[in-house]
């Protein structure tokens, strides 16, 4: 899911006044406990069944391996292998190159979507743009297009014989191989940018709207032009939102799967282990090596948790400087 939150500045410590007022005498009220159980129960059940248990199961599996005794006949035995699966994943050149591809992809995609979205949001916020609401809606529409369909559309626009884009370029004597070695990463980035640009712009715009108007007006009174106001007042004020979106975008990039999976049918450059997620899928369902696949999953999970931790700390720190969070830590 590619929605965004600002956990560090969220209302995690919110206590409803009524609860606070009635706490001393009535906290263990029975009917209240019952209501908590009934209303929260289903969610907690799901949390355990489809989050906690699978995560723990994956961690457990990553320490085991199936071994065949004798000549490969007879029943497979599951044996504890310690960290050997992790060593196998990390020393596998196809996994390492998948990580490299993902990093390259993220390095191209992140700056483009962040600056593009920010620029559009600042333009919307400047009041210079006509039909602002309509433009935002149209820009957002690609986000509602399922990833697989977005990829099909662009894949066909990249395919010679189908693509009007290539026809137009061809009539101007330009030949581009969108699925060739040099264009492959840009072609993938383009699909993600098409889906994500409007979404990012709408989020940044919402954050810009929340900036106290007096601050912007004060800067204008002091003689700052619109560009200067944008760069010195507005952008720093939404730093929290910027870094949160950056982290969610990075986590989404780490999951790259659907797009290259579809492209793998159209170009030999995309192999079955092109990204870490494809590596996991290939390990589990082509090579039937669940231990290896689980180890790779756990590694990916650890990277995501580390990233989230970094950004949660980051927003908590910047959050203290933003007027909104008045409660500095003791």
């Amino acid at each position: 899911m590619s929605t965004s939150t600002v956990p560090g500045t969220s209302r995690t410590v919110h206590t409803p006044p009524s609860a606070r007022a009635s706490t001393p005498a009535t906290r263990p009220r029975r009917p209240q406990r019952q209501a908590v159980g009934v209303l929260l129960g289903p969610f907690v059940l799901l949390l355990v069944a489809v989050f906690l248990v699978p995560v723990l199961y994956a961690v457990r599996l990553s320490f085991f391996s199936e071994t065949h005794t004798g000549l490969g006949f007879g029943k497979a035995r599951t044996a504890f292998v310690g960290l050997r699966n992790y060593a196998a994943v990390l020393s596998d050149p196809s996994f390492v190159s998948g990580v490299g591809v993902t990093l390259l992809y993220a390095l191209v995609f992140l700056p483009l979507v962040l600056t593009g979205g920010l620029a559009l949001a600042l333009l919307f916020d400047s009041g210079l743009v006509r039909a602002r609401q309509l433009s935002q809606t149209v820009l957002f529409v690609p986000h509602a297009v399922p990833g697989i369909i977005a990829t099909v559309i662009w894949l066909y626009l990249y395919t010679p014989g189908l693509s009007p884009v290539l026809d137009v370029l061809g009539s101007a004597d330009v030949t581009v191989n969108f699925l060739g070695l040099r264009m492959l990463i840009p072609s993938l980035v383009n699909i993600a940018l098409w889906s994500g640009l409007g979404y990012t712009a709408v989020i940044f715009f919402a954050a810009l709207r929340a900036i106290p108007r007096e601050l912007v007006e004060a800067a204008e009174v002091d003689g700052a032009g619109p560009v200067r106001t944008a760069l010195t007042i507005k952008v720093p004020m939404i730093r929290g939102t910027l870094s949160t979106v950056a982290i969610f975008t990075t986590i989404a990039a780490l999951q790259l799967f659907t797009e290259p999976m579809l492209l793998s049918r159209a170009t030999p450059l995309v192999g079955p282990r092109f990204t870490p997620n494809m590596y996991i899928f290939d390990a589990a369902f082509t090579r039937n090596n669940y231990g290896l696949a689980s180890a790779a999953s756990v590694l990916l999970l650890l990277v995501c948790c580390a990233l989230s931790y970094v950004v949660t700390r980051g927003t908590a720190r910047t959050g203290r400087r933003v007027p909104d969070s008045r409660k500095a830590r003791p």
């Binding site: 899911m1 009524s18 209501a35 210079l128 149209v138 989020i203 986590i251």
Partner: protein, 285 residues
């Protein structure tokens, strides 16, 4: 919203701003326009990119071919997608709304730790969970059933986070106090007062979850073998794998993709107010 005071005498900036936004709008729109036009013509015109020839119009034929292909597989997939997405989002959003309400209105032991766990689970990519979920489901004999796709999508931690914020801003504590004074127990006051006030929040969460499930690809790919249980994403994927070998599938993919994205685009256009408020709540607060 009224445009803020724009210094007069900056026509240059105004032109640049509108050109940049205009180009971005075209970038968003043109691929969809291509899909729309390509769906209306026959295969020959599709490969020639000739969308406006008078004799090329074949939208009805395309739809007929689509529905007849593989004994009506497309309609089956459409029905499956509706079941997974509408059913999953309706129930999942209710579960999240109730949980978010509890986090906002009640105190209980372990609340802070539980909410921290929810925030962590928001960050965990669904694709990382898909493999262990498959292995668990296959141990339980649930793999390759409707449940293997339907149950995991009910879990929506971000929905709980949103619902907690909606509850804090939409449901005043005084109203609940009044319900208590009137003798309603906690469950009754949630069902008759809280849930009604949370309706806009529920719709927002429902919409985001609907989109996420409709787009879901990895989980069904891992879980399902039986093509009659496929959602649209997986069905179209299986056809797309055939297209480079058999070009007859290109027109099918084009019209199939168009019809598959229509419900989502329409839902987003109709429920704009809601997803905007959801994005705002998620990103700013």
């Amino acid at each position: 919203m009224p445009a803020r005071s724009v210094p007069a005498g900056r026509p240059y900036g105004r032109v640049v701003a509108n050109v940049v936004v205009g180009v971005s709008v075209l970038y968003a729109l043109l691929p969809l326009l291509w899909l729309l036009l390509a769906s209306t013509v026959d295969a020959e015109a599709l490969f020639a990119s000739d969308f406006f020839g008078p004799s090329n119009f074949a939208l009805v034929d395309n739809i007929r071919t689509l529905l007849a292909q593989d004994d009506g597989a497309y309609l089956t997939w459409y029905g499956n997608s509706l079941l997974y997405a509408v059913g999953g989002a309706a129930v999942g959003a209710l579960v999240s709304t109730a949980a978010g309400y509890v986090f906002d209105k009640f105190e209980f032991a372990g609340k802070g730790a539980l909410f921290a766990l929810i925030l962590i689970s928001v960050m965990v990519p669904a694709t990382v969970l898909a493999l262990p979920l498959y292995l668990l489901a296959s141990d339980l004999g649930l793999a390759n059933t409707v449940w293997s796709v339907l149950i995991p999508v009910l879990f929506n931690p971000f929905g709980v986070y949103l619902a907690r914020m909606f509850s804090a801003s939409y449901v005043p504590d005084e109203v609940l106090e009044a319900a208590r004074v009137d003798g309603a127990n906690e469950l009754r006051s949630f069902l008759s007062v809280g849930l009604r006030m949370l309706a806009p929040g529920y719709v927002t969460i429902f919409l985001f979850q609907l989109t996420a499930i409709w787009n879901n690809f990895f989980l069904p790919l891992v879980m399902l073998n039986d093509a009659s249980l496929y959602p649209l994403s997986l069905g179209l994927y299986s056809w797309n794998s055939t297209a480079p070998i058999n070009p007859d599938y290109y027109p099918l993919m084009v019209i199939g993709s168009l019809l598959a994205l229509l419900p989502l685009v329409i839902a987003f256009l109709l429920l704009q107010r809601h997803w905007r408020s959801g994005l705002t709540a998620g990103s700013v607060k």
